[in-house]
């Protein structure tokens, strides 16, 4: 039909059909032939293999296990549907862990961002020797969790620790940093914030440095105080970065494990029994793999929600 001589007289339907055929033909040119597919698989192969073994398989296995009861070696025995989840969400103990984690994560994020921002804006001033402070402020990035935990354990030590020495000098009441439920939480928060500061400082410092100086100059000519400039130029300029570090810190907080294990082991009286530490104990101390699997999935959902939020917001704001 397309080849009929009438197509030269260019009636509309024939033209449309012609165009469509042309488009299809050109699309075909870009589609993969057998050889291309082979190369695609070759390049994708290694990462698919690694992700499959270490991410996808464990994830589906976790989902599977969470729907069963398991024996002490983690083999599924009886299918119980969602009852693991229902049990968890009605257990006061688990809800306590959830609440404790929330308190911890929110406090850590708020403090990390506030202190990181403070240090970053201090370090942005052009002063003699400021390079030393910039290095110091970012130095906790190079400290491992175990070193940090042990370092702070020394400071929190009730008899020889720095903090108890200070309290003695100042005649303040002694605080059982790691034995009092409330103070244990405070101690863990302080240590985590200290750990986080290096990274947060560095990212925020970079963001502040990239704000064009003419914005500040224009503002100072127009009569804006430095306080006004900070809240009306610096903060809005770095808000995408602020949001990014907040979410990263938040997600990191949810996954906190090493510090808890080394400092409090979830105690005293479950006051610092965060979600991940709880999963670890349920699975490897109590041998309750099914319940631990269900907990893992709940945590995955929580983290996925925050990640999604981050993507949505950053997508919108990345170019202002």
């Amino acid at each position: 039909m397309l080849k009929s001589p009438a197509s030269g007289s260019s009636t509309a339907p024939i033209n449309q059909a012609e165009t469509k055929a042309k488009i299809e033909a050109s699309e075909k040119d870009f589609s993969l032939n057998a050889k291309d597919k082979y190369y695609a698989l070759l390049f994708l192969g290694p990462s698919l293999l690694i992700l499959g073994v270490f991410i996808f398989y464990p994830m589906f296995k976790t989902l599977y296990l969470s729907l069963f009861l398991t024996n002490t070696v983690g083999k599924p025995t009886v299918f119980v549907g969602l009852s693991n989840y229902i049990n968890l969400l009605t257990s006061a103990d688990y809800l306590n862990s959830l609440a404790v984690t929330m308190v911890y994560v929110l406090a850590v994020t708020a403090l990390t961002i506030a202190l990181g921002l403070l240090l970053a804006s201090l370090a942005s001033k052009k002063l003699a020797g400021i390079g030393i402070f910039r290095t110091l402020f970012s130095s906790t990035m190079g400290v491992s969790v175990s070193v940090a935990a042990i370092f702070w354990l020394f400071i929190f030590n009730p008899s020889t620790g720095f903090l108890s020495l200070v309290s003695t000098w100042l005649h303040l009441p002694m605080i059982g940093w790691l034995t009092d439920p409330m103070w244990a939480m405070v101690a863990v928060i302080i240590t985590t914030v200290w750990m986080n500061l290096g990274f947060t400082f560095l990212i925020l410092f970079g963001a502040i440095q990239s704000v064009p100086t003419t914005l500040y100059e224009a503002a100072s000519i127009e009569g804006a105080s430095s306080r006004f400039q900070f809240f009306h130029i610096t903060i809005p300029s770095i808000s995408p970065t602020l949001f990014f570090v907040s979410i990263v810190t938040l997600i990191d907080g949810f996954k906190s494990f090493g510090l808890i294990d080394l400092m409090t082991k979830g105690g005293p009286t479950n006051a610092t029994n965060m979600l991940v530490y709880r999963i670890y104990k349920d699975a490897f101390y109590s041998g309750n793999f099914a319940q631990a699997s269900a907990e893992s999935l709940i945590l995955t959902v929580i983290i996925a929600l925050f990640t999604l939020l981050q993507f949505k917001v950053l997508e919108k704001r990345v170019n202002y």
Binding site: S220, I221, E222, S225, P236, S239
Partner: protein, 362 residues
């Protein structure tokens, strides 16, 4: 409000005397242009007036107050930056209102001023847009509106048009000029573009090599440059500067290379001279044999005029502007003459005044 600079000097840690002995008086309501090649310190000078860069020595006065140690906001001026310095996260309206809010003005007052300023630069319809949704010219107008809204009587502009294309530049040039006149602003305008300087300025300061080269009205600067730098900086195409010597036989006679001869009514002031001739003050005609003193190298037809590029017999290149279309072929021998508006410079480039008419002979 007037601005006075007295022997202003600027040293940096790495470099001393970036600017030296800058003295000038800018009158109230004047359009004052600081012009010079890039790196001559003109932006530094502007920033010192604004208070963004400290002054090493000398004094800056606004009206009769020395403002050397006053912070920018106490100097009651406003500034338009080359990159406009708009806040990317604020709408056009909020950008214009920024300084007013910072100064905690009453909301009604802010709204009235922003509205008026946006109206003045024809941006009322775009008030809700973000800077990234505007074209270059529109962004430029937001920066202008910000200056207008601030109500300061002194406005500093640092190469405000250099990010715009040629057509828009001409249009914005006129808008800035009209705005300055309408508001009676004392405007100090920094540019490297001599055309901007010539077309807008009441007075021009030419800055080069750390020093003020000349201060004057556009016509003074063009017709009466104080040295060869100023002469070369203004006018397109550039002035022809040719080496010349006093004739040994006749001290009233000056030989421009071996091609032109000038007879003066007075004795030539120095042995070695430089002669400046604007391209449109020269004449060309076809010539043959000994009459010819140059060869056509190339011609550029621009519609209303033709630029003839030629090489004098001595080897010096010159260019001549001929009105309309000139039909010269390449390598054609020509005779180049000039008989008015000659400028004499000494060997160091300093202008020498020669009172009497001079002639150029082939």
């Amino acid at each position: 409000m007037s601005i006075t600079l007295n022997n202003v000097r600027k040293d940096y840690d790495s470099e001393t005397e970036v600017l030296k002995d800058i003295s000038v008086n800018v009158e109230t309501g004047e359009f004052f242009v600081i012009v010079g090649p890039s790196g001559c310190g003109k932006s530094t000078l502007l920033r010192m007036i604004a208070g963004l860069t400290p002054i090493t020595a000398g004094e800056v006065k606004i009206d009769d107050t020395v403002v050397n140690d006053l912070p920018p906001k106490a100097r009651k001026l406003t500034m338009v930056f080359q990159n406009y310095a708009l806040f990317p996260f604020l709408s056009v309206w909020d950008n214009v209102a920024f300084g007013l809010k910072a100064r905690k003005l009453a909301t009604d007052d802010i709204n009235a001023r922003v509205k008026e300023a946006l109206k003045m630069v024809n941006l009322t319809d775009l008030a809700k847009r973000k800077p990234r949704e505007l074209s270059g010219g529109q962004r430029q107008r937001v920066a202008l509106a910000r200056a207008v809204a601030s109500d300061a009587k002194i406005c500093l502009m640092d190469e405000p048009l250099s990010n715009l294309d040629a057509q828009l530049r001409i249009k914005m040039r006129q808008e800035i000029y009209a705005l300055q006149r309408k508001l009676g602003l004392t405007l100090i305008y920094v540019t490297h573009d001599q055309v901007e300087a010539m077309t807008m300025a009441d007075h021009i300061m030419v800055l080069n090599d750390r020093h003020v080269q000349q201060i004057g009205t556009p016509s003074e600067i063009y017709q009466n440059p104080r040295n060869d730098f100023v002469a070369k900086f203004f006018g397109t195409p550039q002035i022809n500067i040719l080496p010349a010597t006093r004739s040994e036989e006749n001290s009233h006679m000056v030989n421009v290379s071996s091609d032109l001869q000038i007879v003066l009514d007075e004795e030539a002031p120095a042995e070695n001279l430089q002669i400046g001739i604007r391209p449109d003050d020269m004449k060309v005609q076809l010539a043959e044999g000994v009459d010819a003193n140059a060869v056509v190298k190339n011609t550029e037809f621009l519609g209303d005029q033709t630029i003839v590029y030629a090489t004098l017999n001595s080897g010096n290149d010159i260019h001549v502007v001929v009105p309309g279309k000139a039909d010269f072929r390449n390598y054609e021998p020509i005779k180049v003459t000039a008989d008015s508006n000659l400028m004499f410079f000494d060997a160091t480039g300093k202008r020498i005044d020669i009172s009497k008419e001079a002639y150029v002979h082939a």
